[in-house]
Point group: none
Chain length 134, copies 4
């Protein structure tokens, strides 16, 4: 079970990466039930990304997939196009959400990052996720 | 009129198929009024698919069409593009919802399945639907 | 962790009680994350109780309390009055929701029942909950 | 202007108080714009209190008042009765939210706490608020 101490370690690693690349971010971690454990908004990060970061984390746990991968299947004409209208509009279909897995490969939560370009959000989320799985 | 006993038989048939193909699913059945009769989430099925399965069933009864067919008419440029924003975001436009018909061909409910690839969801929904119409 | 087989056993026990008292019910079970595991609507049970049963289960897990007890603290002038406006209106403050506890007394889910008078809903929920803890 | 470092200091002080009184809490801090800066859910704190803590903080900044005081004016028959239905149900009218003021007495944010009895939530929020104003 993911604990607050884990969430803080994950967020700290993500925050470090965000500072490195010079892009202020919103960073959120949810637990196994897709419920919020912790969130931070770095100074000067977008207000609109509060909700996006939390919902990217929700999405990655809700479907056990990174939002970057989900995005590829959710474009017009693809098999999951329209999924963004489900779950009370909490499904985010662009990069920045990554599932957190335990050593058995079981998803036990997720991280969601929002505040920059898609590849930046994803990179910061990856930095956070590595802090847990390592 | 669809009864709870019918819904259970339909769900059991769908569940059997899901086990066969090795993909845990959320399975929902709605009645003539498009209102939920029963839902199950199989162990390890996605949390995000609870809502999706229920809403695929809603959609198939609401418009008397499979969500696979509706998807074809709801892409950008097509005649129903944008329909996923109606009905409080309960309209799902990707495969997995199928209307249930009585022996006179009248739609009396629907099944909705979510948890795998589109073709898997549709196949499991078909297995469930056959249990009723047969 | 609560499994679908547990949810079915809990629902079966609740359904048996509902039949005994002659009141058709909606019965829902959620897991540790307050996410729906299974739902049934008995024949002739109220349509409006679909949502209520699911949300009573949500509430009992969200706050680790029966909705009957929560009701007592949520009346005008009491310490939690107004809590029903939180959590996207999913907080139900009348009888019928009961937490499910494991043998260590830890809440690992909840049952929600709706379809009759408050004391009937609560009695049916208790019957369901006993099937798990026994 | 409230910064993330301030929010962390405020949350740490509140968390310390929550540990002292032995009640796990959700703790949230919003800035001048009533937008979330940071949130934590302590281990074993209620899931339903995630939303409540964030919205108590929102409410205290939105109306520059503690939610304990607002509660007194929002009961049936009182001058603000019904205010909890405004602002997309984000207005919480029970204790646990407190405005954060700078040395000039200007409100520059708020803290929201949820997870225990009303007086516990308020005491933990006060501990957090003092960490800023001192």
């Amino acid at each position: 079970m993911l604990k607050l101490a884990d969430a803080r370690r994950i967020i700290a690693a993500a925050e470090k990466k965000a500072i490195e690349i010079g892009q202020p971010m919103n960073i959120a971690v949810v637990d196994e039930g897709a419920n919020l454990l912790s969130h931070i908004r770095m100074d000067n990060a977008w207000i609109g990304s509060i909700d996006v970061s939390i919902n990217k984390a929700f999405t990655s746990r809700a479907f056990n997939i990174s939002t970057k991968e989900l995005a590829e299947n959710s474009q017009p004409g693809d098999q999951f196009y329209g999924i963004h209208a489900s779950n009370q509009d909490r499904v985010m279909i662009f990069a920045g959400g990554i599932p957190l897995k335990n050593k058995h490969g079981v998803v036990i939560g997720a991280i969601g990052v929002s505040g920059g370009a898609g590849h930046q959000d994803h990179a910061v989320a990856e930095a956070g996720a590595s802090a847990y799985t390592s």
